[in-house]
Structure formats: structure tokens, C-alpha cells
């Protein structure tokens, strides 16, 4: 795995360079907004990456909470299976908001449940908590970029930096929840911290669907989606958007990889230090 890291890093750097070229030069200029529309190629992939990382954090937190009891794990697995079936049925039987495709909802439901079982398979016991910390921290980095690039686009297009619109406000709330999660992990030394943080993450992640679907459910100033929401986009713009998303996803995997390793090493060092402190001969009074 260690040998793979530099190869993957080089490939990611090449992909990011190509994505930057495609975003600044390759993609056509949008007619009404002009050059500033190109912020979209960094803003949207960063948002998608942050949502995906928060979703992984949510699943890892559930795994951590139910993993303490084998019976709860079995029940959670059955519930996860039932959610996958219910999502597929609901996607095709229930009326969906205009522009939302049933296949997109069904695929998302199956993908999330699949991810849950993958995490269970590859991140047993304490490793799932390490994964939760990692994805929350990297997710906050991407969410910060979303919250900064959004106003930089809004100022020339809307004439204002910020508006208390549902999409923008719920994104800010999401960011605040995950910042508090990181603060909790960083400054609390209680043995119950991972449990408290996992519970906070479960509640925090409930904001992700609200952020994502807010533009379908509420009347918002935020632009309607051009991908998967019934809108149209020039194929070259779509290509640039997807290339940038792929590049940022690869970059996020690289950063998570490093952060995960750092967390594992930190915990090992803390364990060694604690063990050493216990074994140290104490002078009797």
C-alpha cells in the first residue's frame, strides 16, 4: 500500500492539472455570467466531495455505535437492507419532486447501503472511529471551500455576497456542526468522546439531505441543479465538471489516506506512552 501512495499522488497531480486547464481554458464561456461561471467547476465538485465524506462519516459513526453490541449490529444490518429495498420501491412508486429521476434516487439508496456494508467489512472495531474522524476533518476542508467560493460567485452574479436562503443557511449549519464535531474530538479527553462524537455526527449528517434537496423542496435563490435535476448543460461543461469532480475525489482520497495513517500512528503513540507511564517505577513516599 505504501508503494501505491506516490504513484496515486502523481496520477492525482496530473489529473488536477488537466482539470484546472479544462476549467480555465477548455470549457466554453457561459453566455450570461461570463468567466465567473467557471467558479462552478471548483464549487460544485467540492460540495459533492464534502457531502460524500460526511455521508461516510455518518455511516462510520453508526457502525461505531452499533458495533459495541453484536445484536445491535445484526439489527442495523437488517435495517440497512430494508432501507435499500424501501428506497428502490419509493423511488418508483411515490411522486418525486419535479426534475428528480427515480433511477437517481434508487441508485443513491443502494450505493449508501452498499457503502455501509463495505465500511463494516474493511474497517472493523476502532478503525471505523478513525475513519469517522478522518472523513469529518477532510469534509470540513471541502465544505469551507464551498462556503468561500459560493459568495465569490454570488457577488458578481447576484450583487450580494450572502443571502439567508435555505441552501446557503443549511450548508453553513452543516459546516458548524462538523466544526463542533472536530472541536469535540480535539479538546475532549473523556473515554466517552468517540461515542458522543458519533452521536453528534449522526444528527449532523441529517442536514446533508436537507442541503442537497433544499433547492427542490423550497423556493431558493440558489441555482437549480444542472446535473440529475432536469436542467441542461453543454456537454463540454459537463465533461469539465466531471473531470474536476474526479480530480478532487482522488485528491480527497489521498488526503484521507494521509490523515487516516496519522490518526492510527497518533493512537499507537498515545497507547505506548500510557503503557510506559504505567510501567514506570514510582518512588514510594
Amino acid at each position: 500500500m505504501k508503494r501505491l501512495f506516490p504513484i496515486f499522488a502523481i496520477l492525482t497531480a496530473a489529473l488536477l492539472s488537466y482539470a484546472l486547464y479544462a476549467a480555465l481554458v477548455g470549457a466554453p464561456t457561459e453566455q450570461t455570467m461570463g468567466e465567473v461561471q467557471r467558479i462552478f467547476y471548483y464549487h460544485v465538485p467540492s460540495a459533492w466531495t464534502a457531502f460524500l465524506l460526511f455521508a461516510i462519516n455518518f455511516l462510520a459513526s453508526i457502525q461505531y455505535l452499533v458495533g459495541m453490541n453484536p445484536k445491535a449490529t445484526r439489527v442495523a444490518n437488517w435495517i440497512a437492507g430494508a432501507i435499500a429495498v424501501a428506497t428502490v420501491l419509493a423511488a418508483y412508486l411515490l411522486p418525486l419532486p419535479e426534475g428528480v429521476r427515480p433511477s437517481a434516487v434508487a441508485t443513491s439508496g443502494i450505493a449508501v447501503v452498499g457503502l455501509y456494508f463495505l465500511i463494516q467489512r474493511f474497517f472493523p472495531e476502532q478503525k471505523v472511529d478513525v475513519l469517522a474522524v478522518t472523513t469529518a476533518e477532510v469534509g470540513v476542508v471541502f465544505c469551507t471551500i464551498v462556503l468561500i467560493t459560493g459568495p465569490l460567485w454570488a457577488r458578481p452574479v447576484w450583487g450580494i455576497w450572502w443571502t439567508w436562503d435555505v441552501r446557503l443557511t443549511s450548508t453553513l449549519v452543516l459546516w458548524l456542526i462538523y466544526v463542533s464535531y472536530i472541536m469535540l474530538r480535539r479538546f475532549s479527553s473523556s473515554s466517552q468522546t468517540p461515542v458522543l462524537a458519533a452521536a453528534l455526527a449522526v444528527f449532523g449528517a441529517l442536514d446533508v439531505p436537507l442541503v442537497y434537496f433544499s433547492i427542490w423542496i423550497f423556493r431558493t435563490q440558489h441555482p437549480q441543479p444542472v446535473v440529475g435535476g432536469g436542467g441542461s448543460i453543454d456537454p463540454r461543461m459537463l465533461h469539465t465538471l466531471l473531470i474536476n469532480w474526479l480530480a478532487f475525489m482522488c485528491f480527497a482520497i489521498l488526503v484521507c489516506w494521509s490523515r487516516y495513517r496519522l490518526e492510527v500512528l497518533t493512537r499507537d503513540a498515545e497507547e505506548t506512552a500510557a503503557l510506559e507511564a504505567m510501567l514506570e517505577p514510582r518512588s514510594l513516599p
Binding site: 468567466e35 467557471r38 476542508v141 468561500i148 496519522l262
Partner: protein
Amino acid sequence: MNFLYAAYAVTWIIHIVYLGTLLRRYTRLRDEMKRLNKTED
């Protein structure tokens, strides 16, 4: 154009700052490990 370049620059500044903090934490951890290994000897 200024807003476009500002958005791209801010994105990479945030990523680089975060990578810098990771690197600093790695360095601190390596020093701590060295210290622990020394006390073990």
C-alpha cells in the same frame, strides 16, 4: 475575472494550509515516537 482567480486561489490556499498542518502533526508525532523509543532503550 478577479473573482474567478480569487476563488481558485482560495481553494488551493485552503488545501495547502491543511496539508501543511498534517505535515506539522506528522513531524511532531515522529519526534514523540523517537523520544518514546529512546526511553524504551
